[in-house]
Amino acid sequence: MSEACKITVERRNDVAILFTDGYINNQGGEEIARQAYAQLDAGARALILDLEKTRIVNSIGISILIEVLERVMDRKGVLAFCRLTPTIDKTFRIMGLAQYAAIYPSLDEALKAVAAAPRGEAARNP
């Protein structure tokens, strides 16, 4: 019924940016996880999830994002989110995700913050 969430990846040195486009449900979440793990295996230290083109992340999608966060933390990496809708931002904060993965209003701010974050420390929330 809904179109599958499309993920595109851009790599800037040791930072991988994953741009999502569409509904993040179980399939969307799994595709994000697949791409994220591939980037970690390829040496990425930090992941930025840019959700500008996503309006809904359901709880199954969020549970997969938690798995991604856990994997990043295990590897002493950094995960950040940017360009969330107010509803997604609110949901992530309700769940406590913002304690472990910083949320930025823009991609530029996310890039600057993760570049400055030491390995193993969450980038600071603005």
């Binding site: 019924m1 809904i56 359901n58 969020i62 107010p86 769940m95 406590g96």
Partner: protein, 153 residues
């Protein structure tokens, strides 16, 4: 604009309820959210609030799809536009399934701390619904489950 106002007065005259039945099938929750968008836009609810209603509907439908084991393989939704006396207009959404029901006391509160280290990562649906909507009432039994949730404009 005139058309909208005519439509609004028509709704005010009594037809303030819309029903929708969706099959238990992948992504059908998105069909239900489309109805919420249409009604939310009609009542000029801010976009962010419509998005919150959409996510609450998605979570209520997913709960029914995954856990209810409905007898009719369907989830029934009713959308109501209303107004409390001298209060703001609201959109009320009822999500009803004829499933096996559940005991709300047995639903464990999720947390990220529990999720990390191999713990359960699912189970956020009800917490998300309660956080996004202005009021939520859940009734459940062997007849099924009814989630009644309201968002003020």
């Amino acid at each position: 604009m005139a058309k909208l106002e005519t439509a609004r007065s028509g709704l005010d005259a009594g037809s303030r309820e819309i029903s929708l039945t969706i099959p238990v099938a992948p992504d059908m929750e998105i069909v239900a959210t489309a109805q919420a968008v249409a009604i939310g836009e009609y009542m000029e609810m801010p976009r962010d609030k419509i998005d919150e209603v959409k996510l609450a509907i998605v979570e209520a439908c997913i709960n029914a799809f995954e856990h209810a084991q409905t007898r009719d393989d369907r989830v029934h939704l009713t959308f109501r536009v209303g107004r409390e006396s001298d209060g703001p207009e609201y959109l009320e959404v009822e999500v009803f399934d004829q499933g096996r029901g559940f005991d709300q006391r047995s639903v464990e509160m999720p947390s990220l701390e529990k999720a990390f280290g191999g713990g359960k990562k699912r189970g956020w649906g009800l917490q998300i619904i309660r956080s996004l909507m202005d009021s939520v009432a859940i009734t459940s039994g062997d007849w099924g489950t009814r989630i009644l949730m309201r968002k003020y404009k």
